[in-house]
């Protein structure tokens, strides 16, 4: 870059240089660049990557873990963690499946009702962590076991299927060519971005994560906000679970088991701090996309299964390093 461009940044950001400076200040720029680079590499190395079918598959895969990751981001922002989200997704899928098949509730009502159920599950964690001030790691470790166990008690390990044609639209349908779960994921991301940036509730979330005691002192009703955040996290996880069930036409007891670490990883590589108070929704969305693109690329490039987890770990490390250098 020329000297003139640099000095123009110093005076008043304008044009391309200004945009670049703004971009570098943007919280999610590191993960965004990593995502774009990975996509470019794959587009060259694996022609199938850019096919419309493959892109919709990747986006849909990202949206399931992504919904859980959005919930995890909220909890991380208040300085907590929720280990039960994967299990909550599984249990919600089962309960939603039963609403459809055993109770006979209308398919369009099942998704919001399941979301309410997920909110309730989340508030169980919220009660113990926010009201009784117990360590969220321990509380959600316990509720993880209880939710996963309840799933097995209800199902005896058998899936609930079929769920019916009307219901499958939520998992397989498209709105303007975009898969429904992706639309719901992006909509949830947009709403949360707005809430975090523009509402008092959102600012309070950051305040609590930054310094809980200070937040208390300035009169923020901390426990109520924490309670609701855990509820929202449960709700987002339950959406992931029920949408996955709709995609597969089957509420499967083990669904959600593998989402916990993926969701935490997506949030963290998206720039959310484990210490609370720092992170963005857009970062998490990119994080979820990066993980899904990576998993897709591993299959497309036929990477040996034995190496796969090593590579995922390395890419996560690189993503964090890119972010570190950006901040310096």
């Amino acid at each position: 870059m020329s000297e003139a461009a640099v000095s123009s940044v110093r005076r008043k950001p304008q044009g391309l240089a200004g945009a670049l400076a703004k971009f570098r200040q943007w919280d999610a720029s590191g993960i965004f660049v990593a995502l774009i680079v990975l996509c470019l590499v794959l587009a060259v190395a694996a022609p199938a990557f850019l096919s419309q079918y493959n892109l919709s598959v990747v986006a849909r895969q990202a949206s399931f873990v992504g919904l859980v990751a959005l919930g995890q981001t909220l909890v991380l922002l208040i300085g907590g963690i929720d280990l039960s989200l994967g299990a909550a997704a599984g249990l919600s899928a089962i309960v939603g499946g039963l609403m459809l098949t055993s109770v006979g509730i209308h398919p369009y009502l099942v998704v919001p009702l399941t979301a309410c159920f997920g909110f309730l599950l989340g508030t169980i964690n919220g009660f113990f962590t926010a009201r009784l001030r117990l360590n969220p790691f321990i509380v959600t470790l316990a509720s993880w076991e209880i939710f996963a166990g309840a799933t097995l008690v209800i199902t005896k390990g058998y899936p609930i299927r079929p769920l019916g044609d009307a219901f499958q639209w939520f998992g397989r349908g498209e709105i303007f060519g975009i898969p429904v779960p992706v639309v719901i994921f992006l909509a949830a991301g947009l709403i949360l971005s707005y809430v975090l940036a523009r509402t008092r509730f959102g600012r309070n979330i950051y305040a609590i994560g930054g310094n809980r005691d200070a937040a208390n002192l300035v009169g923020i009703r901390v426990w109520r906000i924490e309670f609701i955040v855990f509820g929202l996290a449960g709700m987002l996880a339950s959406l992931a679970g029920i949408l996955y069930a709709a995609r597969m036409n089957s509420a499967q007891p083990s669904v959600g088991e593998g989402w916990l670490m993926g969701a935490i990883t997506a949030a963290i590589i998206g720039g959310t701090s484990l210490r609370g108070g720092q992170g963005t929704i857009i970062g998490t969305i990119f994080g979820a996309l990066l993980m899904a693109v990576l998993a897709n690329g591993i299959v497309l490039l036929n990477v040996s299964g034995y190496w796969e987890r090593v590579i995922v770990g390395l890419v996560v490390l690189i993503a964090i390093l890119v972010d570190l250098f950006r901040r310096r």
């Binding site: 390990g157 899936p159 083990s254 299964g305």
Partner: protein, 320 residues
């Protein structure tokens, strides 16, 4: 099917022309078979990375090598989930549909969700075979699906070994794996015919060797007079054997289970495991490749090829 009916139409038109030419009506069925032009890519998706599939791989490679000699290049690729995770497994099937290989062989991890995606693969015009674990009559299957019978056979074998009386335990495998559940049910149904044998514990080991070891240790503590253990998968008889061996109870406890992993064979050789029902999974890999290539040639292939299983004991191994 589309190409099949096109070929049929072509054959019909050709024979119609032949008739017009005045010669006898002839329909050369051999012309339905399409030559393989160019290399074929076959993708295998097992349930999880597991030594058991190494033998399937060897069989698949042997078939590919045979085709290579005939001048047909077959590239067998394995897309293996590092963990038995339903979402990850389904993601691989989905991604491979987009990749459109010449053949897709899937071992069903979760039949209820897998069938949905396998149907989408078939609809996309991909040749699909299920192997190892059966999931639906809608898809070709190469493997052994008589899981309940395996459990029953091992129950009868165990009953005979322990003199038809005493306490036995079950390592139930993964609660969400249909084949494990069927073996356990078969075992229990057979044991119901042996009134002097009590099943005193039944615990899921989640197909984890370490968990099978600790469950067996606990079971031996709770039931010092245990005389038999049934393992419902490939890893839990090894886990049980390690625990029983460590406790020095080899003479008291008779272990039966599934499959012939190297460590299992060693334990049979050492007299710690009495017998296992072993599948011929080399055959599964071999025939899956043969059939997928045949499907590309527009041959007919069986909906089901039962590769069977047999009880391996020290005596059987000594004969080899």
């Amino acid at each position: 099917m589309g190409s099949f009916s096109r070929t049929l139409l072509g054959a019909a038109v050709a024979s119609g022309l032949a008739m017009a030419g005045g010669s006898a009506l002839a329909f050369d069925q051999g012309s339905l078979i399409k030559p393989i032009d160019g290399p074929l890519t076959l993708v295998f998706i097992p349930k999880v990375i597991h030594p058991w599939y190494e033998v399937v791989k060897a069989g698949a490679q042997a078939a590919a090598d045979e085709f290579a000699k005939e001048g047909i290049e077959v590239d067998v690729r394995w897309d293996e989930p590092p963990q038995a995770d339903v979402a990850d497994h389904n993601r691989r099937i989905e991604t491979n549909i987009g990749r459109h290989p010449d053949g897709l062989a899937v071992s069903c991890l979760d039949p209820s969700t897998n069938v949905q995606l396998l149907q989408e693969a078939v609809d996309a015009g991909i040749n699909v075979i299920t192997f190892d674990t059966y999931c639906s009559d809608d898809f070709h299957f190469v493997g052994h699906k008589n899981d309940a019978q395996d459990g029953a056979d091992l129950a009868a074998f165990l009953a005979e070994k322990i003199g038809d009386k005493g306490k036995v335990g079950i390592l139930a495998g993964s609660l969400t794996a249909a084949n494990h559940a069927a073996r356990v049910q078969g075992f229990k149904d057979e044991m119901a015919k042996h009134p002097n044998i009590d099943i005193v514990f039944e615990q899921p080991d989640d197909d984890s060797l370490e968990k099978a070891v600790s469950l067996t240790e606990n079971a031996l503590q709770a039931n010092p007079d245990l005389v038999g253990i049934f393992g419902s998968n490939a890893s839990n008889p090894i886990g049980a054997a390690r625990a029983v061996d460590n406790a020095g109870l080899t003479d008291q406890v008779t272990i039966v289970g599934m499959d012939d992993l190297p460590e299992t064979l060693q334990f049979i050789e050492d007299g710690v495991i009495a017998g296992v029902k072993a599948q011929r999974q080399w055959e599964i890999g071999y025939w899956a490749v043969k059939y997928l290539v045949a499907m590309n040639q527009n041959h007919t292939v069986p909906m089901e090829h039962a590769t069977g299983s047999q009880i391996l004991t020290k005596d059987v191994l000594a004969q080899q």
